[in-house]
Amino acid sequence: MITCAEAVEQLWAYLDGALTAEDKEALEEHLGFCRVCCGEVEFAKELRGFLARSVSEDLPDDVRARLMSTLDELGAA
């Protein structure tokens, strides 16, 4: 039986599908009766989505223009 601390250590790896079958089984057994760690799992899911969504970066037109100039110069070299 794993502890809450051990379960929390493995949550992201669990969501990544990176745990061994044995570790996954032990974690899921723990999650079966621990509401706090179930909350940790749900929050870890939210946090992953939050990280992916929060830092979208568009290529500004002026930066694109300067980088395209670099490509023009390379082609002319």
């Binding site: 601390a5 929390v8 250590e9 992201w12 790896a13 990544d16 990176a18 706090v36 909350g39 940790e40 929050f43 870890a44 939210e46 946090l47 992953r48 939050f50 990280l51 992916a52 929060s54 830092v55 979208s56 970066e57 568009d58 290529l59 930066v63 694109r64 300067r66 980088l67 395209m68 670099t70 490509l71 390379l74 082609g75 070299a77």
Partner: protein, 213 residues
């Protein structure tokens, strides 16, 4: 950590006039330009996340190195991954150059920190029905960028590549020329540090106070 194995350019010569992966009647210069132009938005996005304000310079450096090494690219289909690996190495070199202190962080620094439990224990928004989501909602894109910028490059790079750009951990190991176990360990510490720094940033920048009003 070693760097630069994938970093084309240092010893190469200009050879794009008659080299590079072949695709019909296009010249190597044309093929390179097509590949680079198509990948510019993605490269810039990755660079911004990895190195912030130096992104444009990093992409420019990567384009120069890629151009010089284009003749060594065997298959056109590998072009995007090849460009990415050059860019990641440029960003790492720049990150290392500006780092002022050793970056290895002991797991003891963040210990068993759990942001989930910290939020629940501190209860920053007493009238909230969705405490944890409300905490995350306080962060705008600039805040998240600032939190990521606080992380040492050693941890920020794999964290961003996996959880923002969607690379598999094995791909990241190849991009960084590092053993998979090393990448997994850095991801683990990076996640812990990210959680820790989110809380610290929220506290020091008044995000909790503003929301509680």
């Amino acid at each position: 950590m070693r760097g630069g194995r994938n970093n084309a350019g240092a010893t190469s010569v200009f050879q794009c006039g008659d080299a590079g992966p072949s695709d019909g009647a296009q010249t190597a210069d044309e093929r390179f330009r097509l590949l680079a132009e198509e990948q510019l938005p993605r490269l810039y996005t990755i660079a911004r996340r990895l190195i912030g304000d130096e992104a444009e310079d990093a992409v420019q450096d990567a384009l120069l190195k890629a151009y010089r090494g284009f003749g060594r690219l065997q298959h056109a289909s590998a072009g995007p991954a090849w460009l990415t690996s050059i860019l990641v190495n440029v960003c790492r070199d720049r990150g290392r150059a500006r780092a002022r202190a050793p970056e290895e962080v002991s797991i003891d620094v963040v210990g068993e920190f759990s942001l989930y439990r910290k939020i629940a224990d501190e209860d920053p928004f007493p009238y909230s029905d969705s405490l944890h989501l409300d905490f995350l909602a306080q962060f705008g894109p600039e805040d998240v960028r600032a939190v990521l910028a606080r992380l040492p490059e050693l941890y920020r790079v794999p964290l961003v590549l996996v959880y923002v750009d969607g690379f598999a951990t094995k791909e990241v190991a190849r991009l960084l020329d590092a053993p998979l176990g090393t990448v997994l360990a850095r991801l683990h510490r990076g996640r812990k540090l990210f959680e820790h720094e989110l809380w610290d940033y929220a506290e020091t920048n008044g995000l909790l106070l503003e929301a509680a009003r």
